[in-house]
Amino acid sequence: MNNILEDEENAITMIDAHAINLGPNGMLIVNVALLSMIGWALLKTEKSITTQSDVIILSLIAIFAISGRILLDPIPNIQPVTVIVLLVGIHFGATRSIIFATSIALVSNLFIGHGLWTVYQATGWSMIGILGAIISSKIYVNSKLSINPLMYIAALCGFVFDWIVSLSALHVINPDLFLLYILSGIPFDVLHAAGNMFFVAWLAVPLSEIMTRHISIEQPSVVENFAKTRL
């Protein structure tokens, strides 16, 4: 009798989500669904924010970027961080993009693996942010983002980021082998580039709109006027 009760208890314990083995594809679908929910919540939350503080909106976008990197981890080298950092560089400038990039590299790596490579990833994404700040005036013209050039730049950024991170291999391999090392990683670079193009095509416009609604950085003309009045 006791055995039957124990069996029933075990049966009840087994009827919960922990007993379901979804497999890698099932988990990927769950992760994409979770990321979509976070993205939807981000859009809704952003509309209710009335403050012009860019810190709040950057924090919300960082949550989306970190979640995207962690949840899309099963697909090698496909994640939205590179494109988001590029957009942050375009809209918020180099300094903020460096803080943003470094924080995302550190926090996401606490979940998927932190080590020496975090420094290289933070450096790589910071360089992407700086690039975004440099090309900002050419990509974002008359309050409109030029999507096609941005797609090509984002694809290029996939390669550049991967090559910067690959520099970490010089800690362990002979420099003579470095070019071959880069060459062997090209399929993964292509994945990163294709993912970046996809994220630019689908996310760049909505994310750009969200970012521009909350920019509190003083425009250069304002700074110039301020400087003149000071003088």
Partner: protein, 220 residues
């Protein structure tokens, strides 16, 4: 000219992928309106790359593996019966070799029989060989571990870039060498393929019919 011709021949397997991508891209350009072309093309590109990644990556690995010069004869010192067959060697640092393997380099056949000890080899440990038909490094590695009843069982960490081998036969690199907490110096299980440093990890390694994988601890 010969180099260009040989490079073209080596890259031939990639041409079907590029051709298929080109043809479908042209069809998309011709049939989709300009407003949604970026989204359609970007989605198609990503799906195409994801679908073809496994096979294209395998072809590319074989191509890049061919560019690495093998160091002398990777089968040097291994039993003649293993010529043209695959093998996995485990070399341990002095003082950190499992006690049953510290008298030289042991040689196990693919059934796990320890049939030869090379006491003059310059490192201690063991080689498991005589395997045939393995295409992937991880499969050969696991076959070698299983053949020896887990004498060379390993622990690993799955990172997004692949597997990192943490210990083999219970020996972790930082037990044999000093590892700084900030990772500025340390040690790791290094993998050689046919005597040369492997450009890809064990989970991405494509094998030759006579590949020799060597594991050894290296400090940096």
């Amino acid at each position: 000219m010969f180099l260009i011709a040989s490079a073209f021949n080596s890259m031939n397997p990639m041409i079907p992928y590029a051709s298929t991508f080109g043809i479908i891209s042209i069809l998309i350009y011709a049939s989709v309106n300009k407003q949604s072309i970026a989204k359609v093309m970007a989605t198609f590109t990503l799906v195409f790359v994801l679908i073809t990644f496994s096979s294209a990556s395998t072809e590319w690995n074989q191509y890049t593996n061919g560019l690495v010069d093998d160091v002398d004869d990777p089968h040097y010192g291994l039993p003649d019966s293993w010529d043209d067959k695959q093998a996995v060697c485990f070399h341990f640092p002095e003082g950190y070799t499992p006690s049953n393997l510290d008298d030289g380099r042991h040689h196990f056949d693919s059934n796990g029989t320890d049939f030869k000890i090379d006491k003059n080899w310059n490192s201690t440990g063991g080689c498991v060989g005589g395997f045939e038909g393995y295409d992937y490094g991880l499969n050969l590695f696991n076959a070698a571990v299983e053949a020896t009843n887990s004498t060379f069982s390993y622990n690993y960490t799955q990172f997004y870039f692949g597997l990192q081998i943490d210990s083999i036969a219970g020996i972790s690199p930082c037990a044999a060498y000093t590892c700084a907490t900030d990772s500025s110096s340390g040690a790791y299980w290094e993998m050689l393929h046919n005597g040369a440093y492997s450009l890809v990890g064990i989970s991405d390694l494509i094998l030759d019919s006579n590949s020799v994988i060597t594991w050894q601890i290296t400090s940096y």
